[in-house]
Point group: C2
Chain length 254, copies 2
Amino acid sequence: RPKIISISNQKGGVGKTTTAINLGAALAFKGKTVALIDLDPQGNASTGLGLEKSERKATTYDLLLSDQGLGDILWQTDVPRLWLAPSNTDLSSADLQLMATERRTFMLADAFRQQSIENLDLDYILVDCPPSLNLLTLNAMVASDSVLVPLQAEFFALEGLSQLMLSVREIRQTANTRLRLEGIVLTMFDKRNNLCRQVELDARENLQDLVFDTVIPRNVRVSEAPSFGRPVLTYDPFSRGAVAYKSLAVELIG
Amino acid sequence: RPKIISISNQKGGVGKTTTAINLGAALAFKGKTVALIDLDPQGNASTGLGLEKSERKATTYDLLLSDQGLGDILWQTDVPRLWLAPSNTDLSSADLQLMATERRTFMLADAFRQQSIENLDLDYILVDCPPSLNLLTLNAMVASDSVLVPLQAEFFALEGLSQLMLSVREIRQTANTRLRLEGIVLTMFDKRNNLCRQVELDARENLQDLVFDTVIPRNVRVSEAPSFGRPVLTYDPFSRGAVAYKSLAVELIG
Ligand SMILES: Nc1ncnc2c1ncn2[C@@H]1O[C@H](COP(=O)(O)OP(=O)(O)OP(=O)(O)O)[C@@H](O)[C@H]1O
Ligand SMILES: Nc1ncnc2c1ncn2[C@@H]1O[C@H](COP(=O)(O)OP(=O)(O)OP(=O)(O)O)[C@@H](O)[C@H]1O
Ligand SMILES: [Mg+2]
Ligand SMILES: [Mg+2]
């Protein structure tokens, strides 16, 4: 059975998609078989892995609201052992449609429980969430074993963290008893910046073991890679960003 | 009658809140009376203007879903002529509740149309939107004269722009005939970065007059200011960020 991890933070622009793509690629490099589920209607994870909008025939929308299984939707990326369930703007109407469904927060969990998953021999499923605590994100958390939280070392990003942790606890108590926090990873970190260093001190003091040792530095190669449809691990394997995501994968595997 | 402008972009972390706070402050500095409506359940605009969570008695939630008028909700910030309609996490349940309301996309427009607005003598109403094209953002666009779009000069941010412009056009055709694009402002711009320069070239070539001449530089003083509850214009008036937001205000006033 694969380990299912939601990459989530309702604060926007903190590096959720970048972490989903590059952690996914790093795990695949380490020999793991990974499926990346793009649950954001923006479809950034799908674009960042090189799948043009016109090529996205079956999407996460179908996984949630039709009887297509994960096996029918997964697309092989250029990275061996890294698969993608793509998304497009159809997904933005999923929120409304899920609202009218009986099992509206369990649709993704039900899709993952289908028989077809066993044959895929996956080690990890990573779910890239949109920037809000909406029904799509709730579906991800109800379906997951844990939540990995990218945290930009900035003031506004720190503010939303307690709300996110409350939501995780609430879901564990009401819908998914196995859900726990995988950890918090500092992203876009600039060690010359006082604010960054202050946020890191605060986070490690208050959250201790929950914060990964690995810190992802701000690195322009990371933000260039998606325009070539590739993870930074293949775009520039020796960049500081690629090295950091490899070390995050090692830390995650444990 | 005040000019009502939504600050919106479904891409997360592109500088919506930072632009709402600092453009609001810059307009107030120029002698305009401004109300900033915090329509994001994260409440970053409220925190960034110094209003603690415990002090937010009447919020934007009440403006949308009760018969409180704007006059009952507005709080005077430390900046003369800059008022704030604060928000808190109650607003995250507004989405669900609005869903069940007959005039669900018109609730904010109705609240702005009340008599009490006339007495406030406002020149501008700025609405800080959450990072999604949900019912809260739809309410903002239906209630507005125009949409101002902060655009981070990065690949993923550019990808969502066409979707946003489609939504603006759709709302103009179905719910608010006066809605138009106020303009696109490049944010967190680093002129040493090739990607930034490329995005600026692309944007000015394809969108021409829609792109403001003023470009907001990446400036650490901008990201420090909210932790002191103040706009960068009062935190560090001579910083590059403060100067840029003043020039954006001049360009907006026209
Ligand atoms: N380590 C890094 N160094 C430099 N740029 C980065 C880094 N991580 C992310 N970025 C850039 O920052 C921007 C925001 O990252 P990303 O889109 O992954 O965040 P997100 O949380 O998924 O955003 P959203 O809330 O819209 O889903 C992107 O343009 C991305 O390329
Ligand atoms: N010009 C700038 N220079 C440096 N940092 C900036 C600048 N503008 C914004 N920031 C920082 O970047 C982060 C994202 O900005 P902000 O929160 O305003 O974006 P947003 O679009 O409102 O995000 P969300 O999608 O979560 O609402 C914040 O930490 C902010 O302090
Ligand atoms: Mg994303
Ligand atoms: Mg914001």
